[in-house]
């Protein structure tokens, strides 16, 4: 939302912004609801990431193409309807491809509509840029979101169930850390990741800056 207008950037920069520098999960801390709710297992996290990326890219492309047509006063309403349309498409697609995934994700597929990352990207980037950079940026953001979800889901699945993508990692003696797959685990694992990033950042500029998230 508070991304300033940059001078023209290369395609690579556009793509990489979302994956690392502005990672939606770890740096901007956006789209928390699906992030925490769905990241119980690596597979769930991965499917959710792909679904969100698809909606993000498609919506940003359409918003960017329509950027001169939509009057300023109704732009948010227009974006929401565009996003809702693509979410409906994804909802039916997932239902057709894998019923198991559809049931695991439940209402959270439809809740992609209110994921602030998508509306934020449409408003802050796609509505001001031509289609190609808009799509690249959306692709990067989607990849960054998927990566963040995966990092969360994998840790929670390994600790909470002793598995990764459903394959058992440890012997039969492993005592699963059940709290990790329950709601509190989501908060704690994400908090720990942020802690790690804060710590790394603080170590990079030793002494200068310790707090990034004001």
């Amino acid at each position: 939302m508070n991304v300033p207008l940059h001078p023209p950037r290369s395609s690579l920069e556009e793509l990489l912004e979302g994956i690392w520098k502005q990672n939606p999960v770890f740096v901007m801390v956006l789209g928390m609801c699906p992030t925490l709710a769905v990241s119980v297992s690596a597979m769930n996290a991965f499917s959710m990431g792909i679904a969100t990326t698809f909606v993000l890219v498609a919506s940003c492309l359409l918003v960017s193409l329509m950027r001169h047509l939509v009057p300023k006063e109704v732009r948010i309403a227009t974006y929401i309807v565009i996003i809702a349309t693509f979410v409906t498409v994804v909802d039916y697609l997932i239902q057709a491809i894998s019923l198991a995934v559809y049931e695991a994700l439940g209402a959270f597929i439809q809740l992609i509509v209110v994921n602030c990352i998508i509306l934020g990207r449409a408003e802050a980037h796609a509505s001001k840029n031509p289609p190609l950079p808009a799509v690249l940026n959306a692709l990067g953001m989607g990849a960054g979101f998927t990566l963040g979800l995966f990092a969360l889901g994998a840790v929670r699945e390994v600790l909470g169930a002793g598995k990764l993508f459903g394959f058992a990692l440890f012997g039969a003696d492993f005592q699963p850390w059940v709290v990790m797959v329950l709601p509190p685990g989501g908060f704690i694992v994400l908090g720990s990741w942020l802690l790690l990033f804060n710590w790394l950042e603080a170590h990079r500029h030793t002494g200068n800056e310790g707090t990034r998230h004001a």
Binding site: V29, V87, Q110, G186, F187, L195
Partner: protein
């Protein structure tokens, strides 16, 4: 098997708390919970919008099913929520300017609160009757307000504590939310399960 109204209420308020167990409405939960005096009006406004949204969603779902247009359901929901928020805003501005000013920017932001859309979607998925849906919305809103208020109280206290620099900010809020969520799991035996 029809769930009783009281079990829906208690279950949604405590055991399946919207914020702490179902992860709905986390953005305002982390954003607005810094101070107690903003937490309460925010919770009240959200509860009100949830009730309106639940009412509209119930009617819409009936209409969409009757016309066999289920694929339009999501779009219809989001449009109705956005217009409901707009209506509430206009109504408050005209009839209670004091409350309107107190809520300020939070009112329009309720549109993108996933807890509101969550109410509409979950009540549809669970095929609640009209009264059940309203109870669900009221309990969801009350649960949201409860979580927001508890969190705000804790964070006001934390401001006085001496915390290492790296832990400050979102990381600490998330850890705190984790502990709160852990505490709320103690209620799991009370209400009806999933």
């Amino acid at each position: 098997m029809p769930e009783s109204l009281s079990s829906i209420f208690i279950g949604t308020l405590l055991a399946n708390n919207f914020v702490l167990a179902m992860f709905l409405g986390l953005c305002p939960f982390l954003g607005v919970s810094a101070r107690l005096n903003t937490a309460l009006p925010m919770g009240a406004a959200t509860t009100f919008v949830m009730l309106v949204a639940s009412l509209c969603a119930y009617g819409l779902n009936w209409l969409v099913t009757a016309l066999d247009l289920q694929f339009l359901r999501l779009i219809a929901y989001i449009v109705i929520i956005a217009s409901a928020v707009q209506l509430v805003e206009m109504f408050l501005k005209k009839n209670s300017p004091v409350l309107f000013r107190a809520l300020g920017i939070y009112l329009p932001l309720i549109t993108t609160n996933c807890a509101v859309l969550g109410v509409a979607l979950f009540q549809t998925a669970r095929e609640y009757s009209f009264l059940q849906a309203l109870t669900f919305a009221a309990a969801g809103g009350a649960g949201f307000t409860l979580a927001l208020t508890l969190m705000a109280g804790l964070r006001e206290r934390l401001n006085l504590a001496n915390v290492p620099n790296v832990v400050q900010g979102t990381a600490l809020s998330l850890m705190l939310a984790g502990l709160l969520s852990l505490a709320f799991m103690g209620f799991a035996g009370l209400g009806a399960g999933e």
